[in-house]
């Protein structure tokens, strides 16, 4: 009896009905990769959080203008990367963004709104270019894009939330200290980028 069942089982496996499901590879990989990518590198994380910190220090309307500007210009940088436009010194640009934003938070710099947006936008291009050219093989491009825009925006929101401590004197000091840490980390990233060729 067991032998008969085993034979039947083997036969059933050997002559399977055709599966109708279709494999569309990459959806889950794309979204998860996109969500993970901005948080996988400390240089990106610190720069994104610093954007939120600086926005919180500057107050309205910069608190929302900077996080609106960054993703849009970053996506433009990503688009440049996707269509094959080469940008020199991507890693150097990302390291410099951490230094510049860290210094801005540390010194509580208050440039005009336009100047702040231009500065943020300039550095966003480097971050976007780095993201845009690093799609994992087999991943879905659109979902990867959705994932990394959401992750980047969430990091900004995280920075803004932390930056709300700016209303208390002790919080203000803590924010400036955080800016100093970001700037110092940026110097380390710059050193690494220069040592590694800076591309």
């Amino acid at each position: 009896m067991r032998r008969a069942l085993a034979c039947l089982g083997s036969l059933a496996l050997a002559v399977p009905a055709p599966a109708l499901a279709h494999v569309r590879g990459g959806e889950a990989i794309g979204l998860v990769s996109g969500l993970q990518h901005p948080v996988s590198g400390l240089d990106h994380v610190l720069a994104m959080v610093a954007v939120g910190l600086w926005g919180a220090q500057l107050g309205a309307p910069a608190i929302w203008l900077l996080p609106v500007t960054f993703p849009m210009v970053m996506a433009f940088g990503g688009m440049l990367g996707l269509v094959g436009v080469k940008l020199p010194g991507i890693e150097i640009g990302i390291a410099c963004s951490a230094i510049a934003l860290g210094v801005a938070v540390f010194l509580e710099l208050r440039p005009s709104l336009c100047a702040a947006a231009v500065l943020i936008g300039f550095f966003a291009i480097f971050h976007g270019h780095a993201h845009g050219t690093e799609l994992p093989p087999g991943a879905d491009g659109l979902l990867y894009s959705i994932g990394f825009v959401i992750a980047t925006g969430t990091l900004h929101a995280f920075g803004i939330t932390i930056g709300l401590v700016h209303r208390w004197p002790a919080g203000r000091t803590a924010l400036r200290s955080a800016g100093a840490v970001v700037a110092l980390a940026g110097v380390a990233f710059l050193w690494r980028a220069l040592a590694g060729g800076g591309v």
Binding site: L20, P67, V68, M72, A75, G78, G81, G141, L142
Partner: protein, 202 residues
């Protein structure tokens, strides 16, 4: 003699673009609950369509209840009309690059809080409905899908617009409206990347 409207060449260009577009690769998921539910889930498995619907809901919601009411009915109706046109005459729908450009534009309008009148919001909803409907209509016709799939998808559009648009209309706190506009900037950013992907041919 009356001068021809500028809309005529634009409409001709749109029809030509739809007719010559390469085949889309949209997919229809089988839920096991029948074609109506297959259509209902289709919107949520087609991120390029869903992004545009979210953008229209946010835009209409920001512009008030009247805009919201227009959009809630205009978009699903236009989607169904586009679907029929796509199934009958425009098998391939608009190219992905057009979808990306529309997504950028809609996201940017939300991000800047464009002060559009309700009629303009309704016009945008109709345009989006026709474009997306035509693209999906061609795919559904190729897949020999039931008409219930299209009805299910239109219901999904209606429900999504109603729920999301209604939430945004009810927002009063300035910071919450800013959050909605930030959402628009995310949609525009994703649209820019879609544009890059479409130019790259992925």
């Amino acid at each position: 003699m009356r001068r021809p409207s500028r809309l005529v060449p634009a409409a001709l260009a749109l029809v030509l673009m739809l007719a010559l577009a390469p085949p889309a690769n949209a997919h229809l998921m089988t839920t096991g609950f029948g074609p109506f539910y297959d259509g209902l889930t289709h919107l949520f498995l087609t991120p390029e369509d869903l992004l545009q619907v979210i953008a229209i809901a946010l835009l209409a919601g920001l512009r008030g209840a009247r805009s919201g009411r227009f959009a809630v009915f205009a978009l699903p109706a236009a989607w169904l009309a586009g679907n029929v046109a796509g199934a009958l005459a425009l098998p391939h729908g608009a190219p992905f690059v057009v979808t990306a450009a529309v997504t950028i534009a809609l996201g940017a309008l939300v991000a800047v809080g464009a002060p559009l009148p309700p009629e303009a919001v309704a016009g945008l909803a109709i345009a989006v409905g026709l474009l997306d409907g035509a693209r999906n209509g061609g795919d559904l016709a190729t897949a020999r899908a039931s008409v219930l799939v299209a009805i299910g998808a239109a219901c999904a559009l209606f429900v999504t617009l109603s729920l999301l648009g209604g939430q945004v209309v009810s927002i009063r706190a300035p910071w919450a409206r800013v959050v909605v506009r930030v959402g628009g900037s995310w949609i525009a950013a994703i649209g820019l990347l879609m544009f890059g992907w479409s130019l790259r041919g992925v």
